[in-house]
Symmetry: C2
Subunit: 282 residues, 2 copies
């Protein structure tokens, strides 16, 4: 590898320049370049585990003034998109070390009416917060209850009196021999999500649904210690269908360690549940 490096450093291009000389004289030119943002879907479970919630911020300026939007920010030159997303996530929630993964990059011309902007979308999964802190403080930011079915998306925040609703139409899309089921959203409410953020939400939820059964992502949405009814509620909220208790428990059992304690999980009556943690692999 050293010999290779040395060899390459002497190699001259058609203008007679070595790599070092070439880079010293390199002129980035005046091509038009896009701005690139990292936008984040921050997902959590609501208090009684009956569904998902999504963190949105309210826009204070044009375009889409007064509309709710995904938190996000421009990526800077000395950082990765992941770092930008993690920074934004911490600013918004105060949380670090949270599950955060790149979902998809959105590049459609005109998706931002101001100028040419691409968006690298990230999905963050936050546990039930013992302290429900940092969310609707500072500017206008709030958790919205999210209902994502096969035929509609509903985002609502009772306290703020906001309800955003889209109907979904399934459309098959061919990519070579592969066929996708795409959801085409149509706005049904007065309020709307800013930019193409519905589409980002749809893509992220599709991906999460595909992966949830074969990954440990569900464990990111509960506390470090959790009960099986709580964990099952996470799967059911994401998949939007009930799971059989026994099959579910068989599926996750080998990933669990009992803590030894028991406690109540949901609010309504009934028996106490055993508490578990995710098994630490050695």
């Amino acid at each position: 590898m050293n010999t290779k490096t040395v060899k390459r450093s002497n190699r001259k291009n058609k203008d007679g320049l070595t790599e070092k000389q070439f880079l010293e004289r390199y002129d980035p030119g005046n091509y038009k370049r896009p701005s690139v943002t990292a936008d984040i879907l921050i997902l959590g479970m609501n208090e009684d585990h009956s569904g998902l919630k999504l963190l949105l911020i309210k826009r204070g300026n044009h375009p889409f003034i007064d509309c709710w939007a995904l938190p996000g920010g421009f990526i800077e030159e000395n950082e990765t998109a992941y770092q930008a997303a993690a920074r934004e996530l911490e600013e918004e929630t105060g949380l670090k070390g949270i599950y955060l993964d790149q979902v998809y990059t959105f590049t459609k011309p005109g998706r931002d009416p101001r100028t040419w902007v691409m968006s690298i979308a990230y999905l963050a999964l936050v546990p039930e917060l013992d302290e429900v802190k940092g969310c609707d403080d500072a500017e206008d930011a709030a958790w919205f209850d999210l209902k994502f079915t096969d035929s509609s998306i509903e985002l609502s925040n009772e306290e703020k009196g906001v309800s955003i609703e889209y109907s979904l139409k399934k459309e098959t899309f061919s990519n070579g021999a592969v066929k996708y089921e795409n959801f085409i959203p149509e706005l049904k409410s007065d309020e709307a999500l800013a930019f193409d953020h519905v589409e980002i939400l749809i893509e992220a939820m599709k991906k999460l649904r595909e992966q949830i059964l074969y990954s440990n992502q569900a464990f990111c949405l509960v506390n470090r210690t959790f009960t099986l009814p709580e964990l099952q509620a996470v799967y059911e909220a994401i998949l939007n269908r009930p799971l059989y208790k026994k099959s579910f428990r068989d599926m996750v059992s080998e990933k669990l360690t009992e803590t030894g304690t028991e406690r109540r999980s949901c609010i309504k009556g009934g028996r106490t549940s055993k508490e578990y943690t995710l098994k630490q692999e050695i």
Copy 2:
């Protein structure tokens, strides 16, 4: 929705501007912006279906002069990243209507020594070409045999006498409760892939391996009509492990339609195989 649009168009921001006025006066400012390229992994099966091949082009200028690289190009303002990738794919192979899907966006600062460049990686799957056209013509472009195992990556082109090899070390990486197995490449040959293109290759192959059993991607790598030994070879090449014939056939059988003809699939002796096509869903 119309009322909503009308309402919003009158809404003024803190400077007293409507959305229209705001956009007319919008100054994109002088922030630094990245260049963004669409780079493509173009994968196909080699002639006797014994393995995968990858299309690479040879760089004629710094940086990484003389190195082999993934084809790609800058995304322009009036197109999506997908369109840029499709355009590049057609230039390189003459093919249209091919499977093409976004894999991941690479943003690490310094990944291009010239300037700030992000890359949106695409995966293209091309069928066995009856005409093996358009590949090693024009500039220097060539199909490389690709061997991707758990411990190494090998890219070789006998005709050009080029062999690129990396060893792979597995490393676990924690993302919240989720653990990933990452492959860390280390260059073993004199020749190397340009930029961070090994990492792009690794990510794309990981994703393809995860999806191949639950998607129709394998059908993109064979002709419209194919035999089961041919199709099985595709799965085995991607998964890098043998599959049991019977289980494999049970798995794919409901996706197939017999054409009625029989023909020989591989070069070596033996019986003729039935020919199939992918079943058209109604």
